[in-house]
């Protein structure tokens, strides 16, 4: 049967997502937020989620809607600070002890996700050595470099935004949309991409930026 990973709606793309899922959310600095899928996940209603997202609170991402809807138990991120002087919903939950938070240096965050998708259970990195974020972690000096042991992050669902998908799930990205998306897709059991448009004809081999092997479902949502 001809491979075709296109689904009809963002809602359909959430089929099978369960309570307690570990959810990767791509996007950085305004580019690559899968906001249509985030709304679909909110409407889907899965609870007790762990979000793995660069920022818990970026103003252009709808991640905060999942948090505000009470669907989130824990966030793993490099940023959890709201823009305003007052507290964001996320920060208030954190203050009240109703939210778990794991703060990870952004490069270690990206590398741990890559490791999850690349079959590397753990790695040593010099980043964070000697800081509060290395507290409790194994340290080791390798070739004179003080390092921290970091473990892979794997998850259940990845939500990413791309530009074009073909029916094989191959993706192209506009400008800086890629960011965490490719790594997250590799580390999740179910990887879903919202795209501007899907097409029947394959993307040319040398234009594909993420292989459809890593993508399970794509949904066209327009610009």
């Amino acid at each position: 049967m001809a491979i075709d990973k296109r689904v009809q709606s963002a809602a359909a793309a959430m089929e099978g997502v369960r309570d307690g899922a570990v959810v990767f959310i791509s996007g950085f600095g305004g580019a690559g937020f899968a906001n249509k899928l985030l709304v679909a996940l909110r409407d889907h209603g899965a609870k007790e989620l762990t979000l793995v997202v660069n920022s818990a609170t970026h103003r252009l991402s709808l991640t905060h809607e999942l948090i505000a809807a009470g669907q989130v138990r824990k966030v793993i991120a490099s940023a959890g600070r709201g823009r305003d002087a007052g507290l964001s919903v996320f920060e208030q939950l954190l203050k009240d002890g109703k939210m778990e938070f794991e703060c990870v240096p952004q490069g270690t965050f990206a590398e741990r996700i890559r490791a999850g998708g690349a079959g590397i259970p753990a790695f040593y990195t010099p980043v964070a050595y000697g800081t509060d974020l290395a507290r409790g972690k194994e340290v080791r000096t390798i070739n004179g470099r003080d390092c921290v042991l970091e473990t892979a992050i794997s998850g259940d669902l990845a939500l990413l935004r791309a530009d074009i998908a073909d029916r094989f799930g191959n993706l192209t990205f506009r400008h800086a949309q890629m960011n965490f998306g490719p790594a997250m897709a590799t580390a999740a059991k179910l990887a879903v991409a919202e795209v501007r448009a899907t097409q029947d004809e394959p993307i040319a081999p040398d234009r594909v930026q993420l292989s459809g092997v890593f993508i399970d479902r794509v949904v066209a949502v327009g610009a």
Binding site: F90, G107, D132, R174, A183
Partner: protein, 225 residues
């Protein structure tokens, strides 16, 4: 006795950016350095979100939220630019492929210890971003900060009081009154505003320092705040 303003601090840092280098500029004052690069220096600005070759900010009518830097600024690309994913971007950073990073700072210690991520704002969520990766990975780390806090306390210290971003990593500090190298022998002042005496600098600095052999006045052009 006002010190340098933000653009003047960024200008001074920009003068030290060598031709042909790959640089990452932190948010805040450091990113202003790209506006003050001396003519004829061809450099690549890298941004953590994967943009290699950040150009000038986009004109408002051309702003595109898909084309941003790590500070969420809508940007343009320079000639020869490309964009990679975050994993590759931080592999580039951590792997020593960034010649210089210029970062905002809270505190710098005489051994190069660096604090720039956690100023202990009560109840606000943590925010580390790519600071630790840059501080560890870039070949040289330069810090830009006011010489003193608003309360007048020194930011150049024997030992950082705030949570560290990385150990022993800062090589040069640009403040609103001085340019200071961090060496194996501690702080070495290279340049000082002409109207700040060395005694006054001692009073405003939280650790011993020596003067560089080629110690000279810190001179910058007038620039808008």
């Amino acid at each position: 006795m006002p010190g340098l303003n933000r653009n003047q601090m960024a200008w001074r840092a920009a003068q030290d950016i060598a031709d042909g280098t790959v640089i990452n500029l932190g948010i805040g004052i450091p990113v202003l350095a790209s506006d003050h690069l001396p003519a004829g220096r061809d450099v690549f600005f890298q941004s953590e979100n994967g943009v290699i070759g950040v150009g000038p900010a986009a004109a408002p009518n051309e702003a595109d939220t898909d084309l941003v830097d790590a500070g969420s600024r809508t940007i343009t690309l320079r000639s020869g630019a490309t964009i990679i994913d975050s994993t590759a971007s931080f592999a580039m950073i951590r792997g020593g492929h960034i010649d210089v990073t210029i970062l905002g700072a809270f505190e710098v210690a005489a051994n190069g210890d660096f604090a720039n991520w956690d100023s202990r704002i009560p109840d606000k969520g943590p925010l580390v971003g790519g600071a630790m990766d840059l501080a560890v990975g870039a070949r040289e780390v330069w810090a830009i900060m006011e010489h003193n806090t608003r309360q007048g306390a020194p930011r150049l210290l024997e030992r950082c009081a705030l949570p560290l971003t990385a150990v022993r990593c800062v090589r040069r500090v640009f403040t609103d009154i001085a340019v200071i190298d961090v060496t194996d022998a501690g702080f070495v002042v290279r340049e000082l505003l002409p109207d700040v005496s060395v005694e006054r600098l001692h009073a405003r600095t939280g650790a011993p320092f020596t003067l560089a052999q080629d110690f000279k006045p810190l001179v910058v052009p007038p620039l808008p705040v």
